[in-house]
Symmetry: none
Subunit: 401 residues, 2 copies
């Protein structure tokens, strides 16, 4: 790939405008009854018309066969190598609840868990307690004080919570306490290098206090912690690409991923129509808008084929209002596939289209997996998307003489 | 590429089963008389039917334009970067004769050669002596004793033999003695770093003794040695991919390459039908079977176009018995091309197809070079094959949150 310093050297600010629409989990698989995927089943005249004016292909989020989480999949679309620029579990959890992480904060995922009288883990998820119970227990954990560090505890949902430690010299080079199986005690936090000993001590104190606080609250009588992570130092959109960039997303994690790379977060509503309205209101102020649509993924994760079809059609209905903004470059894709038949993220490559007056449209007639197979871009790394967007927006100067 | 430690972290053991059929030297070139390649000439209804149910493409073994040997070509298919994970000539020769190499052994290729009275090499292959003569001369070399090291000498064929040194602290960082041309004397073995001085001394003693032993055996009156190598430390299939893997191959080198990466070697017969029977008998015990078919390459190397066509048809006839095992994922490809018109390995990309219930078949109708050009995978690195196989077998967990 092109190194960051070269991209920063080549990129220039211009008035041209880029719209990147990410339909989360877009790629699908055929339903056995019809042999058609969600995209091929949906009635979507506007997406298909855009495909006819675009160059198309299939985007590979990380590598063939690799199923990405939302973090790596979006980082790749934003131009950050998803292998070397991994965002840790703790940071993603914090982003997911909209926690305003600071660069020196240390974040981790907490699972409420059950241990028996011998201290052996008997349920790593504490019987999947309700979110309401979670909130009460988080109230107890918030009373824990450890000298030298400020501690924030936040509910995610059910047995999941987030803890953030704020203080000097915190290190993420410490081990998880979650043993990843039952029948054994939780692991102590141990430092992975000597400079992390201080952090390990602080976290172990927190854990001991948490166990005391939860002792009588079966089944959630202990905590397991994993994914200790700090905010990654990624070059930001403003410096790297010279973009005034904004994110429009209904879910906190995607707003957080945008913020992570230097996008302004624009408040919006719950529906795609709300999101489109937000884009329209703010269009004049930005060169780049990342518009995230969540419900294709939600439906795929639920295994609800027709709900995913509906979600695609919902996007299609509002697409004309987006295109009426006349972006110089517009791309529509997903961060990864979420085939309804899999009920989970998949490794399958993702339909992609890019419209620009400076590309020759290929012969793709419909925005589907099969049609995009025949597109001029073939299978290509998602990591190349930003360069294609910038080049087509005339935002990259000539490389070399 | 994805680093080994990440693959090891993501891979999980599951009951799903993968079959990788490698038809050695599969790719070909058109015969001028018909304009058709060996694959396009062969009648192979079963391979074509499989192609219609598969995603297809052309696999690039090492890099465009690079003609690989069997070692790099197979390592790439097994997921080991063929540039950084090179298996030395000596080790490949030892694997090729089925020698049970140990991790500390040092192996090298021997060529019997002719030197004149002035010690000048006049024939680097000793007139290509018969394999029978080779065996007699190997008998002489086996009588050589060098203090501090155990020595094994084995016939390959004609002028080629293998020597293996077994002892403490042997280093492969020593130079070849083969000058690669006639009219000059053989080169002395010299160490490439100081720690290899001990090994260089031992090998030079062996060479001096060999010259004395062969003195009266014109034209094979000396030895040239090259490709000093030790068994490479490759992560093994069991740990890396969590696979119980087996190799079925009629030739020792391919069994050796399988053993090298941790596959069980299953005894089998001489024909493809024998090999298929072996796969069927052992199918229940493995998650991954590497089935190697040699005769496509043999025919290509012989320049025997129709023999290669016959070899392809032979595979086609037994394919239904293989597919009746209902592997969750099946891929058919070659390790490299061996076009009959070249009479040797070539750099041309290799037809590839992969069938899985989790991929959308492309529009490829026939398993040929031309048809696979149109496949959804395009030209892709052979190094990606294992990830595609594992992903489709649901043997890779999600990467990142």
């Amino acid at each position: 790939m092109i190194p960051f310093d070269l991209i920063e050297e080549l990129s220039i600010q211009t008035p041209s405008k880029i719209l990147l629409l990410v339909m989360d989990g877009l790629g699908g698989l055929p339903r056995p009854e019809t042999g058609l995927t969600e995209l091929a089943t949906a009635t979507k005249p506007n997406l298909d018309a855009l495909a006819r004016a675009s160059i198309c292909g299939l985007s590979v989020p990380v590598a063939p066969g690799i199923t990405p989480g939302s973090g790596p999949a979006h980082l790749a679309l934003f131009g950050y190598d998803p292998i070397t620029c991994l965002v840790g579990r703790g940071v993603l959890s914090a982003l997911g609840i909209g926690f305003p992480l600071e660069p020196t904060d240390l974040a981790a995922r907490i699972n409420f868990a059950t241990v028996n009288d011998e201290g052996i883990v008997t349920d790593r998820r504490a019987g999947r307690i309700s979110t309401e119970t979670n909130r009460q227990l988080v109230g107890l954990l918030r009373q824990i004080r450890v000298p030298g560090v400020e501690i924030f505890v936040e509910t995610e949902s059910m047995h999941r919570a987030v803890v953030v430690f704020r203080g000097p010299d915190l290190s993420a080079r410490i081990t998880d306490t979650d043993p990843q199986r039952t029948g054994v005690p939780p692991l102590p936090v141990t430092p992975l290098d000597p400079a992390a000993q201080h952090t390990a001590n602080l976290v172990n104190q927190f854990i001991a206090a948490a166990a005391r606080a939860l002792k009588s609250h079966d089944p959630a009588n202990d905590v397991l912690m994993r994914g200790f992570a700090k905010y990654p130092h990624l070059p930001r959109f403003g410096e790297l690409y010279k973009l005034r960039a904004a994110v429009v997303a209904t879910y906190p994690m995607y707003r957080g991923l945008g913020r992570l790379v230097g996008m302004d977060v624009l408040p919006t509503g719950e529906t795609f129509a709300d999101e489109v309205a937000t884009v329209r209101e703010n269009w004049a102020n930005y060169d780049f808008v990342f518009l995230h649509y969540k419900y294709t993924d939600t439906a795929g994760e639920d295994g609800d084929f027709m709900a995913k079809v509906d979600a695609i059609e919902d996007v299609d209905r509002s697409l004309p209002a987006l295109l009426a903004l006349v972006p110089d470059v517009v791309a529509v894709t997903g961060d990864h596939s979420t085939p309804s038949v899999l009920r989970s993220h998949g490794w399958q490559p993702v339909p992609f289209m890019l419209r620009s007056r400076y590309e020759i449209p290929d012969s793709v007639e419909h925005f589907t997996e099969r049609a995009c197979q025949q597109g001029t871009l073939g299978r290509f790394p998602a990591l190349q998307v930003m360069l294609m967007l910038l080049g087509n927006a005339l935002k990259l100067e000539k490389y070399g003489a």
